[in-house]
Amino acid sequence: MTDDDLLTPHEVPPPPGFREGLADRTARLVRTRARFRAAGRLVLPVVGFLAGLGVAWIQPTPGPRVEYVTVEVEVPIPVAVPPPSPPSPAELELRAEQLTVKAESARVYREAGDRYLHEWADHRAALRCYRNFLDMAGPGDLAAAREDTWLLTSLKNARESENPQ
């Protein structure tokens, strides 16, 4: 058989009443489905409303409401007061010059000399202060002592060699 023979449709009449019967069945289905759709449009909002009511009914009642009160309390903030700074070596030297009591002036000159030497590394100023100290110091302070700095020890030794007693 040729392709045309195989592919050409053959007229085979349908069973009597088939077409009409199918038309009736499909028309019934069309009506039924339309009715269901219309019913769905009506029922759906009601079902939604009832579901909302159900949820509201099932949901537990809320407990007593807690109110939060804000109270402002002033807390003093500690302010750090810096300790008074010690006088500088220069201020000490000036104070020593102004003191009238020799022993006190000598003590302050020595302190100024120590501070010039250790803090500022100003040997010239330290030497000046130590010399004034030795000029004003009593005999007890002229002997070399353990707490003397190397510069003061050198000065004391030099004075002792210049003025042997």
Binding site: P9, V12, F18, L22, A23, T26, V30
Partner: protein, 180 residues
Amino acid sequence: MTDGAWRERGLRDAVLRGDDRAWRAWYDAEHPGLEAYVLWRCGGLRDAADDVLQETWMTAVRKMRAFDPAAGSFRQWLCGIAANVVRNYLRSRRRRTARQEALTGEEIRADSAAPDRERAERIAAALAAMPDRYEAVLRMKYVDRMTVAAMAATNGETEKAVESLLSRARAAFREAYGDD
């Protein structure tokens, strides 16, 4: 959208509202074309065609919401449904036959008309196995009885291209059908 698409849109909306008369008019207009297509796809087997037609129309009513006139005509949509129904029908028929043969242990031959029936089933199976493009061009030629010029105008192709496509579609059909 074309006038036809607007008309089909109106019919669809009327059917969705449950308009019986609109449905009857649409059904009467489309049934002959669909019947011819389904009968062709079933290789001329009337009982298979009736089953497929019934299932196709019922599916069309159930899925009416999904029909979009802007995407294609109602006829095309119906033929798409029918093609799927035919494939499922042939598949389930093959399974059923294989089960029966396994139970009885011999090949089933129903009656004296069996050779014709077998040939018809082979035609249906060959058409079901063909690519959509080939099936469409064969449908235009043998079911819609369109000329090559009309097919070319519909597809937006040259007549030569349509003839070539027809030739390839026939060859594919012959290959799927096998030798007599």
